[in-house]
């Protein structure tokens, strides 16, 4: 503050003596300014400035005002920023990367995207005092639209905002399609724009690839990325092709790609994640753990990665690494929207293996305080508590905790995530209630046999109760059973015994209510019947129920558009 005065005096002095001399140069400047003003108006744009330093905040707001922005709001920390974004949708967000205590700029970006406070047409600029390349760390999945390195001139900021708004103008329609889950339409819109090669061609190409992966068109995504790579070694395209390989099951090829990306740039954090996933698919869990350890060394704040590492290390019986990771997940997750009760329960379970049972119980107590209003958290904590007591040989307490878990589970029936239910099943088995436990596991396998992450957890459960060998057998048998069940229904349909098929699939759907294929087939036979014998209200209602269930289980299920079209044909309008 003190230094302001001599400065001000200094240019007041200059001002007195040189005004007239330089007048012609001033004219030239104002002319130039006028030329750039006529593209887009910033008057109607709502801008949010997130910056903890008063001085920078003021500087940025002054800059914005100087080029005509009328609506400027500000926030001094991440919490306030998120709060302001819940109330109002901003067109432009300027966010400092380093916000001191609480959420970092990166976490603000992640949360805003996660909660859909910003979409593809929102301009998000990360302001940073450091070298841009280092900012990419821990951020590979969530990149801002641009980084702005301090120092920057106001002309640079203005230009950046204007060009980003203009560039993103063509994302508006795509945003709308995505918000309505019309991914095929969104891809078509991308194609139309790509054909015109606008300035944001790269972003459109990138988005198209992401959408193809999202709806599960892996082969098309693979071919698409191959084509992009013909134009040069574009980083995101290499990563995308690796992802497509991973999803297509070309694990060895995927491994080569991810390793290649990291050899060229060891800061592409997403490549570590996918490489670890690939190695796990290749049953190389120890190597996968090493990869994630390297990544968390570079960027310790990414909590999803810490969780993944914790789970891998736990699986590999490397409990001290698991402890460290889960502790970091808990610590850095404090202000993150990605945090979950399982961070605490995983830590508690790990601590038991390190003979720190008391600390383990403390962690569970903290979890209850951190998630006071969540039944799911209470269930998760009770199940884990029971596990911990069991390991401590406190049978009576273990039983009590389990009974409580049971009560909570019944009160929230239906909405329990499979991983929590599997914990419940595991603890049943450990407590000697074999039948109850395996029944839950069987249902989960039969509903989720195509979801590898769930099947992986099932495998871990079997390993933990000391029956790794039986696990695969159990899973295979459960899978075969459901496939046989489905095939029998399909056979009935093909033989034209359609009424029997309806009956059959309805029973099957009661048996495995969360299996999308059974639900889809139940809907389809009902519709086949109505095509043949006419529409009836009861059958329409049932069809709709099954279709809604499929949507709920997997919004991107590949046959869903076909089924929906069939339904629309029967029930026009």
């Amino acid at each position: 503050m003190q230094r302001d005065f001599p400065f001000r005096n200094y240019f007041l002095f200059l001002f007195k003596y040189f005004t007239i001399l330089y007048n012609d140069k001033l004219m030239r400047f104002s002319l130039k300014k006028a030329e750039t003003k006529n593209d887009i108006s910033l008057k109607s744009k709502k801008v949010l400035v997130i910056e903890d330093f008063f001085n920078f905040r003021l500087t940025m707001k002054n800059m914005l005002r100087s080029f005509g922005v009328l609506y400027i709001d500000d926030a001094t920390d991440g919490e306030e920023a998120i709060h302001k974004m819940t109330i109002r949708r901003f067109d432009v967000v300027l966010c400092d990367y380093n916000l001191g205590q609480g959420k970092s700029g990166q976490q603000v970006l992640e949360e805003a995207r996660y909660r859909n406070y910003i979409n593809y047409s929102t301009v998000f600029i990360m302001v940073t005092a450091e070298n841009t390349l280092e900012m990419i760390m821990g951020a590979a999945e969530h990149q801002p639209d641009d980084y702005l390195m301090k120092p920057f001139a106001k002309e640079v900021l203005e230009k950046k905002i204007r060009s980003l708004i203009q560039k993103k103008e063509n994302f508006k329609e795509i945003d709308k399609a995505i918000a309505e889950n019309s991914y095929a339409l969104a891809i078509n819109l991308c194609d139309d724009l790509i054909a015109k090669s606008p300035r944001n061609l790269s972003e459109l190409l990138k988005l198209k690839g992401e959408l193809l992966l999202k709806i599960g068109n892996y082969q098309e995504a693979y071919d698409f990325y191959e084509k992009v790579l013909l134009m040069g070694n574009v980083g995101w395209a290499e990563l995308g092709r690796g992802k497509a390989d991973l999803m297509l099951g070309n694990y060895l090829q995927a491994k080569v790609i991810f390793e290649g990306i990291l050899a060229k740039n060891d800061k592409i954090m997403a490549a570590y994640d996918y490489l670890a996933q690939t190695l796990a698919k290749l049953e190389k869990h120890k190597e996968a753990q090493q990869v994630l350890m390297k990544a968390t060394n570079i960027s310790p704040r990414a909590i999803m990665r810490q969780k993944a590492l914790g789970n891998l290390a736990y699986r590999n019986d490397d409990f001290s690494v698991a402890e460290n990771s889960f502790k970091k997940a808990v610590e850095h997750g404090k202000y993150s929207c990605m945090r979950s009760p399982s961070d605490y329960t995983s830590l508690a379970k790990t601590l038991v293996h390190l003979d720190a049972s008391e600390e383990s119980l403390d962690v569970l107590n903290v979890a209850l305080k951190e998630f006071p209003d969540s039944d799911e958290a209470k269930l998760h904590v009770s199940v884990t508590e029971s596990y911990v007591y069991k390991k401590m040989n406190r049978e009576e307490d273990a039983r009590k905790a389990m009974a409580e878990a049971n009560t909570i589970a019944e009160s929230i029936a239906g909405g329990i995530p499979p991983e929590v239910e599997l914990e419940l099943a595991k603890t049943y088995i450990m407590m000697g209630e074999e039948e109850k436990g395996t029944k839950i596991i069987k249902r989960i396998v039969q509903c989720n046999y195509d979801r590898e992450e769930t099947i992986d957890i099932v495998k871990t459960v079997f390993k933990e109760v000391g029956r790794e060998d039986n696990g695969q057998q159990f899973i295979d048998r459960a899978k075969d059973e459901i496939i046989a069940l489905n095939n029998e229904g399909v056979a009935l349909t093909q033989e034209g015994r359609i009424e029997e098929a309806i009956d059959y699939f309805e029973k099957a759907a009661l048996h495995v209510p969360e299996n999308k294929i059974i639900n889809a087939n139940a809907a389809q036979v009902l519709m086949l019947y109505m095509k043949e014998y006419g529409v009836n209200e009861e059958k329409i209602a049932k069809t709709k129920m099954y279709l809604d269930m499929v949507k709920k289980i997997d919004d991107h299920y590949k046959d869903l558009p076909m089924l929906q079209a069939m339904y629309n044909e029967l029930v026009p309008g």
Binding site: F11, F15, L26, T59, P151, V156, M231
Partner: protein, 226 residues
């Protein structure tokens, strides 16, 4: 803590200070312009020096990382006209304050895959140089030639000293001469060579060329990217 860590953290710290300095100056210039005070022209010179310092530090950091094989390359597919527009906005006010006009020539439909940060560093270095030597014109242009993208910066100054004129294709050993990497311009060219060589596509590798002449008879710097 080893010396290179100390160096790196000091560099970051210095860059942050420069940031504050630059922004303060920006505010002063704004107030100054508002009050129709002509001295903002003088302040631009200060800003120019801050920018030069800043790009020197970035250059230093990048060269240090490249030397340690820690330089992360981030290739994306960019609109060239947009890239040149951005470069122009970064520099035009300062150049304008010296009466130098910038002009750009580039096909709007030209796209290429390259590391934008590194290329911005190259342009900053060369244009900062033009700020000193150009008389009235700095011209940026881009076009395709033999499967390479050519990015060119030329001016109407006296041109490069003959010791610096070269084309890497014709003098492949040139960059190995250590005496070359001395002085600010020399370091800038050394940096450009490093950036060019980091751009590889299939069997081809980027290179630079420095000649005198061109459209305005001054220095002509070109970087070729495969």
């Amino acid at each position: 803590m080893n010396f290179s860590d100390i160096l790196a953290s000091t560099l970051h710290d210095t860059k942050n200070s420069l940031g504050i300095l630059f922004n303060n100056l920006e505010d002063i210039i704004a107030t100054c312009k508002e009050q129709k005070c002509p001295s903002h022209i003088e302040f631009y010179k200060l800003q120019y020096e801050i920018k030069r310092l800043n790009s020197s530090l970035i250059r230093l950091l990048s060269l240090y990382k490249a030397d340690k094989s820690q330089l992360a390359i981030n290739i994306d597919y960019h609109s060239i006209s947009e890239f040149l527009d951005d470069v122009t906005t970064q520099h035009e006010i300062l150049l304008d304050s010296r009466g130098i006009e910038m002009e750009t020539q580039c096909d709007e439909e030209l796209f290429w895959a390259f590391d934008r940060n590194l290329l911005t560093g190259v342009f900053d270095n060369v244009i900062n140089n033009s700020f000193r030597y150009a008389k009235q014109k700095v011209r940026l242009s881009a076009f395709k030639e033999n499967g390479y993208l050519v990015l060119r910066i030329e001016d109407d100054g006296v041109g490069y000293p003959s010791s610096m004129v070269f084309n890497e294709r014709q003098h492949p050993d040139f960059k190995k001469e250590t005496s070359f990497a001395t002085g600010s311009t020399g370091l800038g060219i050394y940096f450009s060579l490093m950036v060019a060589s980091q751009h590889k596509n299939r069997e081809k590798c980027g290179f630079i060329s420095i000649i005198n002449g061109g459209k305005y008879g001054g220095g002509v710097f070109s970087i070729f990217l495969p």
